[in-house]
Point group: D2
Chain length 357, copies 4
């Protein structure tokens, strides 16, 4: 239950306040040159303390590789890696040992396992996603050699939303601001909205959009493992995600078929569609057009103010968390969304090799 992918497979371990977070990538082909600095750069996009709108926890999050890479290339054997935990204030969590925080995993974990590591959320902490970013950064490099790029950005924060489709935006601007929105004006509003939430000791949610370009036609599967089903599964497995849609998504349900269908044309010898309501996927299989999707994140549950709840004896009590927490998870979630998309696509790249004899 802690593995992801069929052929390009990531297995992770680690708790927020244990020794660290790590993982194994099994199935990465041999002979891929890896730039380890690029991997660390992805972790830095995710790390806490990177700007005024993220938690001020100070984690360097340096990844160590234990195996599977020799003389700068993958060897085809499993890649073991580890990111040490640092700067833990485990005592911040002592008060929470016997209390079920609202909308956290405290109660459900206790019901499932009987025991739990209460420090920092244990396994339910979003810190686990660091392993996905490390693995995703390797998947990205594999895909990059195939001409595929994956770019995510913040599409909305609370009510503040980008009002243009991604095709009218310059996605290279995404990293130019701390909220990771490619439109500078909207970015400013989003930052202000997050700062407001922080001042209120409250939190705010939003959506991330992710676009994959260069995926060739023919990746995916007809039935259960449709390409978008694997992408949706990947995204819904990220902490705080509540919804997923691709292509025309929920809005597309309001169109008629004649408005929604994407007409095929011959584009200088290539098959192209005039519109892209399909989001680059038809019948569960990529059609060569851009793949795009939206991911909904709830406002995170840890508020730095008093809330009512019950303890493990079902007695009414209050909870008032200490610690350093993000008022909005969106900016740091951008590389996580990209990583999960990269893991799915790397997996389907390998799967695609066995479709034809």
């Amino acid at each position: 239950m802690n593995s992801f992918g069929q052929l390009f497979k990531l297995t992770t371990y680690g708790e927020s306040h244990g020794a660290g977070i790590g993982g194994i990538i099994d199935g990465c082909p041999a002979g891929i040159e890896l730039d380890l600095d690029l991997i660390q750069a992805e972790l830095d996009r995710r790390k806490p303390g990177q700007s005024k709108i993220t938690t001020q926890r100070n984690e360097t999050d340096t990844v160590q590789f234990f195996s599977g890479i020799f003389e700068g290339k993958t060897t085809g054997t499993p890649i073991g890696f580890f990111i040490k935990n640092k700067d833990q204030h485990s005592n911040d969590y002592n008060d929470l040992k016997n209390v079920f925080r609202p909308s956290h995993a405290d109660y459900t974990y206790t019901q499932k396992y009987g025991v739990r590591d209460h420090r920092g959320g244990g396994r339910s902490s979003a810190r686990e996603t660091i392993a996905r970013v490390a693995a995703g950064a390797i998947a990205k490099q594999l895909l990059s050699k195939l001409g595929i790029s994956i770019q995510a950005f913040v599409n909305s924060v609370g009510e503040i939303e980008l009002d243009k489709p991604y095709t009218e935006l310059d996605l290279s601007l995404t990293e130019s601001n701390i909220v990771r929105c490619p439109d500078p004006l909207t970015a400013e509003k989003m930052i202000a909205r997050i700062e407001e939430a922080g001042r209120n000791h409250d939190t705010v949610g939003g959506t991330i959009q992710c676009v994959a370009t260069g995926v060739p036609a023919g990746w995916g599967a007809p039935v259960f493992n449709k390409l978008h089903a694997d992408l949706g599964f990947a995204m819904l497995g990220i902490n705080a995600v509540k919804g997923f849609e691709y292509g025309s998504g929920f809005d597309g349900t309001k169109l008629s078929g004649s408005e929604h269908n994407d007409v095929f044309v011959n584009d200088n010898g290539n098959v192209k569609t005039v519109t892209n309501n399909s989001g680059g996927i038809q019948g569960g299989i990529s059609n060569g057009q851009d793949i795009y999707m939206n991911v909904a994140f709830k406002p995170i549950a840890t508020l730095l103010k008093e809330q009512k709840t019950i303890d493990k004896n079902l007695k009414a009590t209050t909870v008032n968390p200490k610690g350093r927490h993000d008022p909005c998870v969106l900016p740091r979630a951008v590389p996580i969304v990209e990583s999960m998309a990269a893991l799915v696509l790397a997996d389907h790249y390998l799967i695609s090799k066995n479709a034809k004899f």
Copy 2:
């Protein structure tokens, strides 16, 4: 790639215009009394020709069981089953052999496999879901013995939407009308909207909501296989689905954390939440409250009118499908959504047994 589930596992086979559709359920525990009539009744809810707003194809869709059931009970061995295809008008598809229908799987299948069975969409046909309904009907009976019930209904058709939450509706009315909407007045509007689409030789999309009650706290998993990620994967694997959300979903991204959090209370010795934005799942694990989700269906791509497209030589052409097709997939998709939810929950029931020593 044609299997679903980890411990309660369904594998399916079959094409629209081949001999039939079938499957194997592997992992169903021994000793469950099965009512075979109830299984057939679920297939009947999905079958074509059941009302004036569905396709008029006449398929009896009778399921045969080949194994795994002895003297009315499951034996713990794999359950093989088969539904024969009937009433095929394969010649209706001859014109489509070399043409890529807009927003269908014709082009993507050809890219993946090199060859394809063009008759009726082959493996990409929604007829494949009949195997899921047969298997889901068994999963439902297993869950029913645990006090769990699953009910889906049509929540919107095009712009016509239910304006109340499910908690204010009488879900027992769902089967009282042909569109499967529990509010009779809204149902009438939806039926009219579908009939309008049919008259226009066009199609219309919509959303289905699904509610599972009675799921105990503790089912699910912390990381990749979060309960809602498995549910989302299941739903996104249904033909024509474009989006999935659970609990507060996409709308929840606009709330602040203090509005969104669900406060725990002691309800006569049981843990309860006052609100249910979590949709019954926290940290990927059920919390004992109702699990509810929305599934977005696009308007289906087969229009009974002429559309522009290209053929396999990339030459411009038109397509004008014959055959008998649904103007709206929603009413017949209700049992499919329920079935997929049942398969996920039956799987997590089995998984839950191994969480504690």
Copy 3:
């Protein structure tokens, strides 16, 4: 638990006295031309009643394909197939309903499942292997197009054993006699030994050797799924098998390393080993030499004479089976062994495609 293989995956269902035996092959690539007569021919090699030394049950064992094949070629979608049961004398088994036959699965099944289909052994019947032969026949055709052939033969019956290595035998003679031993003189002795067992209402065991030629170097895996581990797993999953060895096997444990090591030489530009104690596999991966292995079959447990045992209330009783049974399983097991080897190799062919970028 009823699936075999990772990428070329077979799932089977069916009981001895139910409707039939069937299966699904998932993962067979598209575009392979199949000769359906060759598949039936393999089933005929396995079928009962084929000679005076096999059971006289009369089963035609005709396979029907339900999907995944179109215009004579695989389509890449799952291949569903079914073999109807016939000529059942279920009443022969009524006496056995409450009795645990010695060295059968009656007791262990009851302990595992609580219930069991007692007729003809239910799922534990060797009739289940018919699905493996059908699937193996497809795997064989795939491998044949790659220049790989798989040949098994009876190596020993009781104390009667071939006294030459396979390299000194003409394996094309295997099918020239009813016991499937490539040495005609030894075959005669084996047949006499089986007839003697039959006259005594007793049974006799033996070993089957299997040789795969033409497997290229580089198939297999370094750690758990070593090529010989997957082959051993495959063989040990056949009914009545008690042991597996490859290359030098158990005898090789008595050699010193300097006797056992296979020296590499340059054979006209190809890598070759002078000896082949490695059995064509080194470090779990094929080295291009012949792969050969031995499979040990116990004397089957069904004796047509009275034996002591207990019933389900643990009371002493006797069992005296009726029905028509093989005095020796070996001749009919030859195609089963070949089929399991073919399934493993077809799987590793697909796996091998993803080792290098």
Copy 4:
């Protein structure tokens, strides 16, 4: 391909001369008290340099646990662990970079992956088994709480063989001598045989027998994953293993059915068999009697003397390894065999929970 087990799942990584060897155990239930000293003690049974008949490499092999254990108990989340490599003489292997050592994985790895880490065999090194011993030690503790014990011992070294069945031996004497044979006189002869091989710069093989007592009836599966097939797969995945048999094994093929069948009797209210040719497994499922098996190990391929071979350009050359190597792998393989058996049984314990509703 680097994972083992279905529900109690071990995934490993690491090369001989990389940073270290590690793994993840996924699926271990919550709430098991672990004695970490017992885990280290198992690693010490496997470690080099432990006696005069093993390699004199000095590796402390200390295991670190990174996750999944809290306050002395398993938490149900994945257990990540790591054993650092030490005392590496990587330069000993420089000469071997371009040479294919006889009966090693050098050639086959190169064929599979294109590249390889030549130092100390890389991933093909038996050092990888350290991760299996660490995981097996946890599985053993789980099983021990269920009353199950697993004991392996050296059954033969070259021609020197134990001449009694295990039932007539005192297995508690196994650890009383450095070769791990429970019969002191035979142990002396085995030690002398190994020392002789060492003096000759040669190596010697042998067999290990493994006995599991206390396994309840009902564990296993009817078809592919028969309990003995999973055990055989586990053992054949250990470096240098060439064969596996259980119960009567290869010798059993020479018995007639009436000699081989195990008669059931009522033993004070328990089902028992008078003989145990079945090796505790019938129809692939445990019957409550002792499970016993033999595992054949070839003489290891690394000889400390000159041997002929070819290099990667297919030129004739010689190889004359330096380094410190075992003349016989058997004594150190005893805990590895036990560990693999423990992993299989822990897995089937979890699987068994879902057989009945």
